[in-house]
Amino acid sequence: MSSRDVVLGRIRAALGDDAAPPAGIPRDYRRGDQPADLDLLVHRLEDYKAVVHRGVSVAETVAALAPDPLIVPPGINPDWLPAGVEVLHDDGLSADVLAVAGGVLTAATVAVAETGTIVLDGSPDQGRRVISLLPDLHICVVRADQVVASVPEALTRLAPQRPLTWISGPSATSDIELNRVEGVHGPRRLHVILLEASDHE
């Protein structure tokens, strides 16, 4: 008898024959259709020590942050790249190179206003998970049409088969007397550039 059969057999025995058919799930919590509030997103991001830039040019903002060299995923929008900054396109860069990079620039897939979360899904403009993890500075560009109000709406926009990284503020720990310390292992700094309809990219 395989352990698979043993475990499944035990569970079936534990449930017995009279396992009641599951009742319906009450779903009277908020599920969506709220308008996404950009100001709330900014407030939530800042509350978790992310720095938010609005109404700015991506290239100029990146240049001012001066990450050198700047790691970018293969599908990054070339208009976002500043002149005068050394740019390394990720084509499978080694972890050692990523770990000493000045920063990384990515796009995002979804942002959740209520929780101040941005989600990356590994698309060509977001790249491998590791590139947004090892550099000390992560600059993430979010378009206003990617912002949703709540977690339920975010899940409907995401493809579960892709590797997903939900980011709410920079890396943090509260393990020492519950004092929040930013940046233990992940990026210590998170900058979000919010592009609104009025911005020309």
């Binding site: 035990r10 569970i11 939530r44 998970r129 980011i167 720990t173 310390v181």
Partner: protein, 472 residues
């Protein structure tokens, strides 16, 4: 009693961390004598409660979310075999390999063999209750494989040759100067001028672990959720050590209790809102990673999922107690428990401390192996109110007390004393009576002495827990 293959079974003895070396009263007595511990604990639980209360207050639909979470978990348990098979199929289709482990010994064997097959001698670990439960680190060490805990608190615990004392903040019993001493003593290459500033201590851990992250080829993780209809695994964390372990190595081995299932992708919307707010008191934890099998060119190219029973089927067999399997390990019940606040996590003798530990551990091991734990509560009900998936812990405690093989009088005494811990007037009276009768130390007079014969009485709380909770 002999068990038959395929019948629900409790977790085996002699392996893992579900049974303490001594009973709760004996262990609690030591903890009660440790003032530093109580101060650290009091500070921590108060802080987390305040944070959690504030962000829960932001959601107008918290109670609706709790009801949905509770119903979802019950529905999952009722369909567990079918959903586990669906998970297996979807993980396999996405390039992962699924293993089934009947108990801790088998899970340890599976993981050890998987690591051996890679030829590696070292694994990096993300904090995981399941692997602590089965004693995986000890098993790996015995096999000549070095497990390195990468969560800052777990690292503090590991370097201090210590045990975790809280689900969420395992080193909650240590303050900054104790942590500094542990680092100076145990961390190779640490700067001897290290101060006890949290940011400096965290920096030391970052430097110490970076090289290990970059050079270790195998990782072991737990999982917060697994989604049956997509085969997706989910890990919530804060530091980024989780992302390191989940994306840098070539091989990832995830050990998961069979109760961690969520039926559908959509259902995640409930638990992703409940867990961070109830747990760390955040709207969302800094990082959540989700992966389905392997993704070519991104992250580990070899993924193994170990599905663990280890007593869970025995819990499932108890119609009253089975809701303990709904637990999403948020630790909210610990932070509101007046008994936990006085004794700390070690007194419970299991990786699962506090109210949930008092019901889960005895069910996983068989109640005779953890007979004092159902009494490690005053039944004040705060844990029930705090639980984001509405587990009725007090009812399970009462139910389990009836199964404890203690003499009747002893049971009554333990229950009375636990009740007294949450009622200051009674408590003061009991202390006064103890003095008058000149019993040795802070002991209670009969009939309460059955419980306190082996423990000192702590100072009574200034207000009852219920009063405090009601005022929130």
């Amino acid at each position: 009693m002999s068990t038959f293959l395929g019948m629900p079974a409790t977790a085996p003895r002699g392996v893992g961390n579900l049974r303490g070396d001594e009973s709760f009263p004996a262990a609690a007595r030591k903890a009660l004598g440790n003032d530093q511990l109580r101060r650290n604990l009091g500070h921590a639980t108060t802080t987390i409660r305040a944070k959690s209360g504030a962000v829960i207050g932001e959601l107008p639909d918290w109670q609706e979310l709790r009801s949905a979470g509770s119903a979802l978990k019950a529905a999952t348990m009722a369909r567990l075999p079918e959903l586990l098979l669906q998970l297996e199929e979807n993980v396999t289709r996405a390039g992962g390999v699924v293993h089934w482990a009947a108990d801790a010994n088998e899970a340890n064997r599976i993981v050890t063999e998987l690591v051996r097959a890679t030829g590696e001698q070292r694994v990096i670990k993300v904090k995981s209750m399941a692997t602590q439960e089965i004693g995986l680190n000890e098993a790996l060490e015995e096999a000549g494989i070095e497990p390195i805990e990468t969560d800052l608190a777990e690292l503090i615990v590991q370097l201090g040759n210590d045990k975790p004392s809280h689900i969420l903040v395992p080193a909650i019993h240590r303050n900054r100067s104790e942590i500094r001493e542990i680092f100076l003593r145990e961390m190779p290459g640490v700067d001897p001028a290290l101060t006890d500033e949290p940011v400096v201590l965290a920096g030391a851990a970052r430097r110490y672990l970076r090289e290990t992250f970059l050079s270790t080829k195998v990782a072991v993780s737990g999982a917060n959720f697994a989604i049956a209809d997509t085969g997706t695994l989910v890990v919530l964390e804060s530091e980024g050590n989780g992302r390191m372990c989940l994306t840098l190595p070539e091989t990832l081995i995830t050990v998961m209790g069979i109760e961690k299932l969520v039926p559908t992708w959509q259902d995640l919307e409930v638990f992703l809102q409940l867990l961070p707010r109830a747990s760390t008191g955040e709207r969302m934890n800094p990082y959540t990673s989700m992966w389905t099998g392997v993704t070519p060119g991104d992250g580990p190219q070899s993924f193994h999922l170990v599905l663990l029973d280890n007593g869970r089927s025995a819990v499932l067999a108890d119609e009253v107690g089975r809701q303990a399997l709904h637990c999403i390990r948020c630790s909210a019940c610990l932070n509101v428990c007046p008994v936990y606040e006085r004794t700390g996590g070690h007194a419970y003798g299991s990786v699962y401390p506090g109210p949930i530990g008092a019901v889960l551990s005895p069910q996983l091991t068989g109640v005779e192996d953890n007979a004092s734990l159902p009494y490690a509560s005053s039944l004040c009900g705060a844990c029930f109110d705090a639980c984001p998936v509405k587990i009725d812990i007090p009812s399970i405690l009462v139910h389990l007390r009836n199964e404890v093989p203690h003499p009747r009088t002893e049971r009554a005494a333990m229950a009375a004393a636990a009740y007294t811990m949450d009622h200051p007037k009674l408590y003061a009276a009991a202390q006064h009576a103890a003095k008058l009768t000149k019993l040795a130390g802070h002991r209670l007079p009969p009939p309460l002495n059955g419980w306190t014969a082996s423990r000192d009485l702590p100072e009574p709380p200034p207000e009852t827990f219920r009063d405090w909770w009601a005022k929130r």
